[in-house]
Symmetry: C2
Subunit: 161 residues, 2 copies
């Protein structure tokens, strides 16, 4: 199981706009060149990000793309869902293993595993914002996530231990 290049490119583009987009819209071609990504494909990804409301586009000569909102308000989950369509797909619906077995009326002890997994994945990806990836580099982000995911919303937990 893996994410396709679209999620990766989507994050790279969003991150690029968060870094360099303050001065005004960045052209897709320029972004692709700077990030060393295939130009036409980059345009396609940016289109998806726009359709999802993550970036806005300006047409015309000095047009390009900008973040639609603050980087703190854009999660990795937003970008992944925009580019891949979903974070973790439950097979029961789109790729059922036999119509009967995967019907919701049929009792299946495996199904809760996939739902739990999806919840877990979404929780993590939703916690991580584009702003978190902007500074601190790889080491900084690693430390940040380490803290974040031991938290689960109970802020006293770490201190009490």
């Amino acid at each position: 199981m893996r994410f396709t290049t679209q999620a990766e490119y989507g994050l790279i583009c969003t991150l690029h706009l968060a870094r360099f987009g303050a001065a005004g819209p960045v052209a897709a071609r320029e972004m692709a060149e700077k990030e060393d990504l295939p130009a036409d494909y980059t345009e396609k990804i940016l289109r998806r990000l726009r359709q999802a409301g993550i970036v806005t586009s300006v047409r015309g000569v000095s047009g390009g793309f900008e973040l639609a909102r603050d980087a703190r308000e854009i999660s990795v989950k937003d970008v992944v869902e925009a580019t891949e369509g979903s974070t973790f797909e439950i097979n029961c619906r789109q790729h059922p293993v036999g119509a009967e077995r995967c019907d919701t009326t049929h009792d299946c002890s495996i199904r809760p595993v996939w739902y739990a997994l999806r919840t877990k994945i979404d929780e993590l990806l939703d916690q991580i914002r584009i702003s978190d990836l902007l500074e601190g580099g790889e080491v900084g982000v690693t430390e940040l996530i380490d803290i974040t995911w031991q938290d689960h919303g109970d802020t006293n937990l770490t201190m009490e231990r």
Copy 2:
């Protein structure tokens, strides 16, 4: 992102053996028929489970497959890794987005996200054992996982709250 049918079939087969395998080895064809799975494909999956040491096989006329160890000692992660090869693949190695960018010497703030996600996924799938899926049905398993995943190994936490 999703798991292929192999993970699903792998779980179904392992679960089948946990349920009905006590009396002796179950033939692949018989299992496929009872579980309504494609016969040849089922054999292939069982082969992978055997190669991973999850099941053992007995050849000859009344041969078949049995669990290699107690169902409590087999996690969903074991089965997924056996059938799919891995739980969550980090693209940086197998599907790098440009050799330079994904080189380990290059600082990449996105990489920690994928590593954190893999850790999360593995944690959950490792906690859930085949024995957990045997009884209680879909509702029972859902409740069990709900409890399990709020635990994170700190057993006092739930009580103290």
